[in-house]
Amino acid sequence: MRVQAGGARIDRNRTITFTFDRQKLSAHPGDTLASALLANGIHLVGRSFKYHRPRGIVSAGAEEPNALVTVGEGALAEPNSRATMIELYDGLVARSQNAWPSVNFDLGALTGAASRFFPAGFYYKTFLGSAQRWTRLYEPFIRRMAGLGPAPTAPDPDHYDKMHAHCETLVIGGGVAGRAAAAVASGRVILLDEGSPQDTIKGVSLLSRTTAFGRYDDNLVMAVERVTDHLPPAQRSGPRQRLWQIRAGKIILATGAHQQPLVFPGNDLPGVMLASAALTYLRDFGVLVGRRIILVGDDSGADKLRAGGAEVTCFPAISAAHGRKRVSSVTAPDCRRHVCDAVLMGGHWQPAIHLHSHVGGKSVFDADKHCFVPVADSAQPFSVGACAGEVPAVTPVPPVVGPKAFIDLQNDVTIADIDLATREGFVSVEHLKRYTTTGMATDQGKLSNLNALSRLADNLASTPGAVGTTTFRPPYTPVTFGALAGHDRDLLIDPARHTPVHDWHVANDAKFEDVGQWKRPWFYPRAGEDMHRAVQRECKAVRNGVGMLDASTLGKIDIQGPDAAAFLNLVYTNAWLKLDIGRARYGVMCQEDGMVFDDGVTVRVGEQKFIMFTTTGNAARVLDHLEDYLQTEWPHLKVWLTSVTEHWAAAVVTGPQARALLSKVVSGTDLSNQAFPHLAMREARIAGHAVRLYRISFTGELSYEVHCDARFGAAVWEALFSAGAPFGVTPYGTESMHVLRAEKGYIIIGQETDGTVTPDDLGLSWAIAKSKPDFIGKRSLARPDMLRADRKQLVGLLPVSPIPEGAQITAHAGDTAMLGHVTSSYHSPTRNCPFALGLVASGRTRIGTTVHARFGDHSVTCAVIDAVLYDPEGVRIDG
């Protein structure tokens, strides 16, 4: 109810309208949603989390546990907004939450009638049985019945900003104490205030509508500024919210204090609220929360309320409040009923020590004021005003035990739950919190923690100081995910990397696959082809004619220096000292634990110059690995590493016709087997551009990798492709690349390996130079466990029907004991049957026997064969 005069924050000359649960209401500019609802006589604004009890507005600030509403519509809707913090604008639309069909008639309230079945820890006691019962029965039920507002399903149309700021002094809290501290602070001063803009202070950057929600090491404060939330959607421009990351020389906390509720049966009824909140609504908004008010406990505000026009009766305590959707009477200590329309709780005060505590600031219990106050510490911020403990000394009103006497209003925890937990032995404050969930709601227990641990202390005949508080953690109040993400979403958080030939792939209808951040052609379907047919066609073209693959994404590291060869000799398992210039070698790289880390070909370009090729997705990790050893273990080696992945474009030309294709466009080098053998490099020209040709094969066929300056990558690719027209050159993608390499038993890092696989497990012991005195992983490969005969080894599998990658391998159809798993599985284009690779215990000794691949309810018989399915003699590599 609005009184005739007063209301420092509202503009009585103007009227605005808003709707709450489809009801059109009026208010004044300057109102919060809470003050506007109270001005319209509306106390019932929501239903509680667990019991669906009618709930009203408790506070006038950030600590509000009950009045959570959904603001806005469609994709702009924001659930769980505190009505006390929403600045009203003309046309605002708000809805109540957690009630069906309506907040006035909520079927969910039946759970309240059954509340004796939902005591503390009911999660642990009630929902027993199989995991299926949990996922199919209990969880959907709980999710429907217990909860807050639903999140919008459409993408968030708003955008959010981030700012980094630095200052000598950061003051948090724009009340009297905070403003006074900011006014006398020196250097750059930033003042953060949660409320709407107030008068500026000379020399102070004042950020209004800004909540500091977390303090972190080295004086970093995170705050969220609500830039446009207070405006009608049509008037909003710019970011909706801005995340501030402020690094301060010194921090002054002026965060105030929260009056604590009283505990008595019915203390959660709409119309029961904090005395200080009622005074705020009268002073700032000219709103009287009731005409017949019962004031309990601290009665220092009685005169102001009477002056506002209310009839006020004061009691030091009451034994219960009564009513259904709004409080209608109380039972006084004399056992008589007194009719009322509002009950004000004059509780004691708890300083808002959250930010003080976030980085380990200690607090101590002040028995006179019955609250925790911050302990001054030079390593912690300086607290001033109410948050430093300058709060009224109010004698605590003892709790009244009885039905529906709530401790935590947001999570529906009663004093009986606290008592039950104590009886069951949850006497540590941290255990009590987790068992009863008190203080674990979105309000972080601002109005419940002190009452809960005071009750625990009473039950244990101890004191709150001895029981202690739980740990305060950020955020102080909820923060939108949008503000945390800022602009770091979609392509700005996960950029797409394109090769120089990307446009050609798009023009040729490639389907793309994400490999790390790279967009790689996956396959090139022709009209009417599905993926399977396209891949089989592409593979056959490579086996019988010639194909081209864009390999530009391959990791490339330039390695230079007088000790480059010695360095490679230490990081690869095989020997590198005697590699001739212009020759290439396949190498396996292990971690110090002996497990395979990467593989690839490295080429000696000059006496002191090499280029290393890495797995596409592993390029950065390999460079980091090499840099670490070079800087920290072998700083005496003169070697320099440079990532050149994006400097070079690479096209693979492979198949029996590859040499014929290249001979049409390559000038400056002899392509014959004798002049240019496998694992060699030659420099040449294509279409006027300098290229390096490498004889490297990942298909088993005669193969050339054509590398050139990335700027000419598209031109060289197109020249090669044109030259290939007479041979029916076929572009192929990563899927065919995988099939072709799997037929040859070539591994893919991350597919055949998972950090537990040694070179020998993969059949690569030929690539281990046992005579070398040292290389990374050598000592570990000699550990007994690495030499066991029953290690999982890479083998080929011929299943009688297709099997999925990841399927478990067992010895017999009915077994559950696992011998290994399927790492790669495809349809072989050369044999026209399914085939797979797998890691199988003692796999090489099982060649010629059968195993079973199990997945779901299926068990498929597989013949164990050598990992090399195609051309085991390797005759095709020379064309």
């Binding site: 972190y216 090491d217 080295d218 970093l220 690094r247 380990g360 390593a379 110090e592 634990d593 980091d624 840099e627 670490d628 800087q631 920290t632 273990e633 005195p773 040292d774 050598k778 000592r779 570990s780 000699a782 550990r783 007994p784």
Partner: protein
């Protein structure tokens, strides 16, 4: 978020760095000369110090250099 003193670039936000764990574990000059226990000690065991901890940091998003700092694991303070 910590401020980390890179010896080459000065105080920078932790987000620019990668932690490399316990320092002062030089790779043995001749790993093959070590017995199983000594190699396992080097490979797997860390002191997990409560208190002053010498640790490796890499200024990954800055100069790229590895360096060693001493941090009190109880307070996160770096000490020189």
């Amino acid at each position: 978020m910590l401020l980390i003193p890179c010896p080459h670039c000065g105080l920078r936000d932790q987000i620019e760095f990668r932690s490399g764990g316990e320092s002062d574990r030089a790779r043995p000059a001749d790993p093959s000369g070590l017995n199983e226990a000594d190699w396992a000690e080097y490979l797997f065991l860390r002191r997990n110090e409560k208190g002053l901890h010498r640790e490796r940091w890499n200024h990954a998003s800055g100069c790229g250099k590895w360096f060693t700092l001493t941090r009190d694991t109880r307070t996160h303070r770096f000490v020189s």
